[in-house]
Symmetry: C2
Subunit: 333 residues, 2 copies
């Protein structure tokens, strides 16, 4: 029995390639005193991973070369060495990395109930992406009933939850995504009021007809030209939530800054960045409320599960090509 | 006796030129019932003028072709036709435009006391630029004692007041301006802690040594590369006040957006636009407090006065070349 691990070998320039990671098979670790051994079932694939691979100051430390690739994960305790809190059989989610087994004190892990929801959902709607959506749209976006809310990356793990929460709060919701299937999904399954397919529509023009009163809150996961188009359509006192900029993460030249940022001045608007880790103390309450919405059928969650650490790179690439269908998760054991 | 007026003739592309305005001599108007005739003494020259000349949606209507050039102004009532509030001899400040006489209901004008402060000061520190500084740094910048405050265009009418207010509130203040004279002025006369001469220094590198703990509040009048450099040095929860972008106002290509805007995400920072007109109901209180600071010598005000409507264009250009020394004002009569 071995522990298959994905090791970070080389900081990529632009899109990661075959040299970025290597797969290693190592012995399964023994939990030390006070540790548990977790058999991991699923790891989470997120756009933020691209940022962690870069050198230099960011909101968390860059991944070190020769370390296991950082990732959120979920699994079960299979051995406990006098752990003060967790026992064999507990289902835990935390930062286990892209590997099959991890021995850890489980300090920043959370125990979840995998009979209430399937494990992959705890990496999506009930995990970091869901928390990001919840705090981003409520605390930073400060939505009010009647607001027009625009979301980029709106069919994704974060965006799809943002839009559903905004609908629950009485907003008009327009989602931007790539392709007719995703647009149909947002309108027909998630209940969004309208959708813009950035692959076949001119976003700048589409916003004129689909957000005719302008935008009160723009929740941006994408950056680039879409951010620029949204800025032109801000209403007075609009809020722009900067959650991510997936269009720029693989840039090998300078990031494209928003040329239309002076719309913030004209419209007395605010652009604010957010990182979900800041809300950790409130995750519990948020997860409880989201769980209730899920149980009541008010919130829908979709996960797209692939299998095998050997398929990590091709699966990861789907984040950037958009060839996925909900929260991207890799089954590792 | 005639009324010399500057007429807006042609929307400029880039820097305004000889075709942008024409000078006309027209009869002095007669005040209608309920109006006053104001003999204007000074008009205010402000970077915002450049924006008013463009077509299209902004925070106020564009100036119309063949209208008198819009400008803040100050003068004295020389004739009153049953005006409910003002009488001959009153000193009023408002939007009189670039002309020598104006007949008006004076609805949005304010009466000021020109024995307490010289008239040009009511166009600067006690006028729109001073109000912009006051509300921008206190209400939008939300400065606290101990904050590091960085200001661009810091020797100008707005920036110089921003920095002095920040000093009064216990902040560390660093100003960016062009040239040794302005930098010396900020440190020696205005009491700033440090200064960066963007004409002779690399702003990005200078910020590292002059704001070693990073920036809590950046008050930006300039945009472009200076905004980008400041973004790199933000501290956690920093506030960026977008007051203007003088480096971009004459751009004939697209405005340069801030490439480093993702620093807002990394640092959970906020970038917010402001327009002074929103604070009109509180001008009175602000002017009273600023007047007190001026009287106590805690606030210094400097005006740079030129003369003659025929010199409007060359004087206006000083806003953008920086060849001025304090608040730019034109004596028109």
């Amino acid at each position: 029995m071995t522990n298959t691990q994905l090791i970070f070998k080389k900081r990529p320039i632009g899109v990661p390639d075959a040299n970025t990671w290597s797969i290693e098979k190592n012995p399964i670790p023994e939990p030390k005193e006070g540790e548990v051994l977790i058999q991991q079932h699923y790891v989470s694939l997120d756009p933020a991973m691209r940022g962690w691979m870069n050198e230099g100051k960011s909101y968390i430390e860059p991944i070190k070369i020769d370390d296991v690739m950082r990732a959120g994960s979920i699994g079960k305790v299979i051995k406990a060495n006098n752990h003060p809190k967790y026992k064999v059989g507990d289902c835990l989610t935390g930062w286990g990395g892209v590997q099959q087994y991890v021995a850890t004190t489980a300090e920043n892990w959370y125990k979840v109930d995998d009979t209430l929801a399937p494990m992959p959902m705890y990496l999506g709607t009930l995990g970091m992406p869901g928390m990001t959506a919840y705090f981003g749209i409520l605390e930073v976006g400060k939505i009010k009933s009647g607001d027009t809310v625009l979301i980029s990356g709106a069919a994704g793990a974060v965006g799809s939850v943002v839009g559903q929460i905004a609908k629950l709060k009485g907003c008009t919701v327009v989602g931007i995504a790539g392709g007719k299937d995703k647009c149909d999904y947002m309108i027909n399954e998630l209940g969004f009021d309208d959708a813009i397919d950035y692959k076949s529509e001119n976003v700048m023009l589409a916003l004129r007809t689909k957000c005719p009163k302008g935008i009160d809150v723009f929740f941006d996961n994408v950056g680039g030209d879409i951010l620029d188009a949204a800025l032109v359509h801000l209403r007075m006192h609009a809020r722009v939530v900067i959650c991510g900029a997936i269009s720029q993460y693989n840039a090998t030249t300078r990031v494209k800054g928003p040329s239309n940022y002076l719309s913030l001045l004209v419209n007395r608007a605010t652009m604010q960045g957010m990182v979900v880790l800041d809300y950790a103390k409130d995750y519990g309450n948020a997860a409880a409320e989201m769980g209730k919405w899920l149980a009541e059928g008010k919130l829908k969650s979709k996960e797209d599960v692939y299998e095998g650490i050997e398929n990590f790179q091709s699966t990861y690439n789907r984040l950037f090509t958009g060839e996925k269908n909900g929260k991207l998760v890799l089954k590792v054991l």
